[in-house]
């Protein structure tokens, strides 16, 4: 296996984690990762160096955006037994954070996950989202405020942020 493929392969676990948190659905998440990998392999010859990690996150983020855009006109799918009310301990906490993530606008969720879960820098996230760094920081601030109030049991008014 060449260096390019080795770098891509080393990223698969992290891509799966990001996709799972982004979509909160195991099958959809792995579909996204698979599409990301297929696209990366196809572009192997076109990859002129640079940061493979950011590049892969960019592909995945874009594929997910396309997916959501088309889903807007489709029925919404949910995991039927995801809302069990009797969970306790860390399970319940995990559910809370997952539920809070679910109510975030897409761009904010992506920023929050890329920064806190995947450990990317503001600069890298700005490149991935194709947005100025100030926008990324404001998305991050809104995401954190929203998740905080959501976990504390109040739903803040949803505002659409570009």
């Amino acid at each position: 296996m060449n260096a390019f493929r080795e770098s891509v392969e080393a990223m698969i676990p992290a891509l799966r984690r990001y996709a799972r948190a982004l979509t909160r659905d195991a099958d959809i998440a792995d579909d996204l990762v698979q599409d990301t990998l297929v696209r990366a392999l196809r572009s192997e010859r076109l990859f002129l160096g640079g940061d493979i990690r950011s590049w892969l996150y960019t592909i995945l983020t874009n594929l997910n955006r396309n997916r959501r855009r088309s889903l807007a006109r489709k029925p919404q799918f949910t995991e039927f037994f995801d809302t069990a009310a009797d969970a306790s301990g860390t399970e319940a906490e995990g559910r809370d954070i997952a539920r809070a993530l679910a109510t975030l606008p897409e761009e904010q969720r992506s920023v929050l996950l890329l920064v806190t879960l995947e450990g990317l820098s503001y600069r890298e996230v700005a490149d991935i989202q194709g947005a100025p760094i100030g926008t990324v920081m404001s998305r991050l601030a809104r995401a954190r405020a929203h998740v905080k109030t959501s976990i504390e049991g109040q739903r803040p008014a949803l505002r659409r942020v570009k």
Partner: protein
């Protein structure tokens, strides 16, 4: 040049938590937090949030990578298929139809359960309103219908008994499915409420139940040993839908798919 008298901004608090703050300003922020409990509490909550995200999702990264994501495998696929998979995904997402799926290999199946469910919901919507010809074969010919459908879909079809849920079999029909023929059974309650069961070979062997809703129809999808099922009905009562699905699940599981 920094000065601890310069108030700390919210952006700086985030940058502090994310290790993006210039080193020389960190001490100022720490001093600020010592005297500003509200900000200290926020910073603390953001760190807890990050811990919770890791606690919830790091285990995904620790799982063994599923076979279908192995690079060797993906790279080995014929070039045509590689393009096809991406195209199929797009087509499927854009058109929501089966077109993109025909002719693809038995290999990966991006979001196949979604298309499966959409096909079933489509059939449900089309036939539940039908008064005179809701089915091809009437329930009075149950045995014949089951033999015929079993032969066409390639696995045993036994119409579940749903009397316990107050539903009587109306009959069934054969439909084109996502990748193989589908059997479609219709049930009716004394009040005219209609439920349908759509079943066909599925790309994924087993899945947990998923719920989808469109217009006034609700659908529960699941796959069991390579056979997919969608139970559709009015979405006004999710518990009832689940109860009926449960009953179907128990019976098909016993029958061995």
């Amino acid at each position: 040049m920094t000065n601890s008298n310069i108030p700390v901004t919210e952006d700086e608090l985030h940058a502090f938590v994310d290790n993006e703050l210039p080193t020389e300003r960190r001490a100022d922020v720490e001093a600020w937090l010592a005297t500003h409990p509200d900000d200290a509490e926020r910073v603390h909550s953001w760190r807890t949030m990050a811990d919770e995200l890791h606690a919830r999702y790091d285990r995904v990264a620790d799982e063994a990578v599923p076979k279908r994501l192995e690079l060797e495998r993906l790279a080995r696929q014929p070039q045509r298929w590689v393009y096809g998979a991406v195209a199929a995904t797009l087509v499927a997402f854009i058109a929501g139809g089966a077109a993109g799926w025909i002719g693809r290999g038995a290999a990966a199946s991006p979001s196949s359960f979604q298309n499966f469910t959409l096909d079933a919901l489509e059939a449900h919507r089309l036939y539940v309103v039908e008064v005179r010809h809701p089915v091809e074969v009437d329930a009075s010919e149950r045995t014949h219908m089951q033999q015929w459908l079993s032969k066409r879909v390639g696995y045993p079809i036994k119409a579940p008994e749903l009397d316990g849920a107050g539903l009587k079999l109306v009959g069934g029909r054969l439909l084109p499915g996502p990748q193989a023929p589908a059997a479609f059974l219709m049930y009716e309650s004394p009040t005219g409420e209609r439920f349908t069961l759509y079943t066909s070979r599925a790309a994924t062997p087993n899945t947990q139940m998923r719920y989808a809703t469109r217009a006034n129809d609700g659908a529960l999808y699941w796959a069991d040993r390579g056979v997919g099922y969608v139970l559709s009905g009015p979405d006004s009562n999710k518990d009832r839908l689940q109860q009926v699905a449960r009953s179907v699940y128990d019976q098909t599981e016993k029958a061995g798919g």
